[in-house]
Amino acid sequence: MSELTPAISKNSKILGLFAVACTAAVALVQLLTEDRIELQAQQQLIKQLNQVIKTSNHDNEMFRDCILSPANNNTDLLIDVIYRARLNKVPTAAAIKTVAPDGYSGNIELLIAINIDGSVSGVRTLLHKETPGLGDKIELRKSDWIETFAGKKVLDDNDNRWAVIKDGGMFDQFTGATITPRAVVKTVRKTIDYFQANQEVIFNTASNCGAEL
């Protein structure tokens, strides 16, 4: 045995002890805050859903009535979750959480709500990494651009108004940032198309994400 062995074993014991103590402390705090964090996330979700679908338009708990990543034959469109709004059990609208993959700096997470008649009820940006001061006008906090979607409809398959003004469409682009609004408009359009084609599936699939929240 080398003369270092006792020192090494003593030090590793001390280190191990500290690791256990630190882990225990984190575990304790996690245990204490767990419920509250979950509650916060849930309230945040409810707040967002109520922003895109008017409370007069539904009487169910939308955040419990939802389907996770449903099948979808449009490979360009990434659907995360669909929340269903119903009034007296009759479907009125759906809020679809999706991703616009072609933002200026990567993915833009969107919550897109569409009424049963195919018109947009509301859109919100949930998460993005667009340039501050330019592309971040898709946040409601910075600009009300995102509100311009409300009430708009896709008239037919060749409806070319669904583009930014620069491309001959009806949505404003931002000074110095065209890619960001272009990506958002494109994804909203695709989501509406998906909604129109799959209403049956969207509203009749049994809810399968209630346990998550």
Binding site: A7, I14, F18, C22, Q30, T33, R36, I37, Q40, G133
Partner: protein
């Protein structure tokens, strides 16, 4: 009551002479990344302050039991524990702010100011002094964050305290001050290069003030060459 002169010295060192942001230049990563608005700066500053006090106190409390060969991993463990706890607590109680500071909170672990103070000061001094050192260093860092945040927010978007409600609750929405109106934001100030430039001016400003003070003072013989030191006792 006589105040221990060491406390006065600690306050002076932390807040001005050996300020972690302006002189030690530790923790530049969070300093430059989050100071785009005053509120973000304040949020991260308070989190750092809290971690710094707790880690200094703990490191000092256990200083007799930690063999010096393994002190660094233990300090890192302690700091990481406090940061994780702060992150969980912020997630639970200031959810919106957590959303906007999110990815920068874990960066506190990499803030060298914290491990620097643990190693250089807290591991050798009693708990009271170590906590006070943490408080003063933390306040010094917080002050630099706030000043930088204010400069960048005013230049970048013409406001002050935008988003204060994220940190302080709904009543603070009224704190927002629109200093002047910008049609489009001044990007340079908001992006990281602006942070570097503003930081450079702050450091230059501090040096100017220091040299003015030195000139105003009656001439004393300087014995040693002044150096930037993390550990000011050496």
């Amino acid at each position: 009551m006589k105040i221990n002169p060491e406390y006065k010295e600690l306050a002076w060192q932390g807040l001005w002479k050996n300020n972690p942001g302006l002189v030690q230049l530790l923790g530049l990563c969070p300093l430059l990344a989050v100071t785009s608005t005053v509120v973000n700066a304040l949020g991260l500053g308070i989190a750092t302050l809290f971690v710094l006090i707790c880690s200094n106190a703990t490191v000092s409390a256990i200083r007799h039991w930690v063999p010096k060969e393994i002190r660094i991993p233990i300090f890192v463990l302690i700091i990481a524990t406090f940061v994780t706890c702060v992150q969980l607590l912020m997630n639970a109680f200031t959810y919106d702010l957590y959303q906007s500071l999110g990815i920068f909170l874990p960066l506190i672990v990499t803030n060298c100011a914290i491990i620097g103070r643990a190693e250089a000061y807290a591991s050798k001094k009693p708990i009271k002094l170590a906590s006070f050192d943490g408080l003063m260093m933390g306040l010094g860092f917080l002050a630099v964050l706030m000043v930088l945040g204010a400069i960048r927010e005013i230049l970048g978007q013409g406001t002050l305290f935008d988003g204060a409600n994220l940190l302080l609750g709904p009543w603070a929405t009224e704190l927002k001050v629109q200093i002047y109106h910008l049609d489009s934001q001044f990007l340079l100030a908001i992006l990281p290069p602006g942070a570097f430039i503003a930081m450079g001016f702050l450091i230059a400003g501090k040096n100017v003030i220091d040299s003015k003070i030195a000139q105003a003072k009656p001439k004393k013989l300087e014995q040693a060459i002044e150096r930037v030191r993390v550990n000011f006792e050496s």
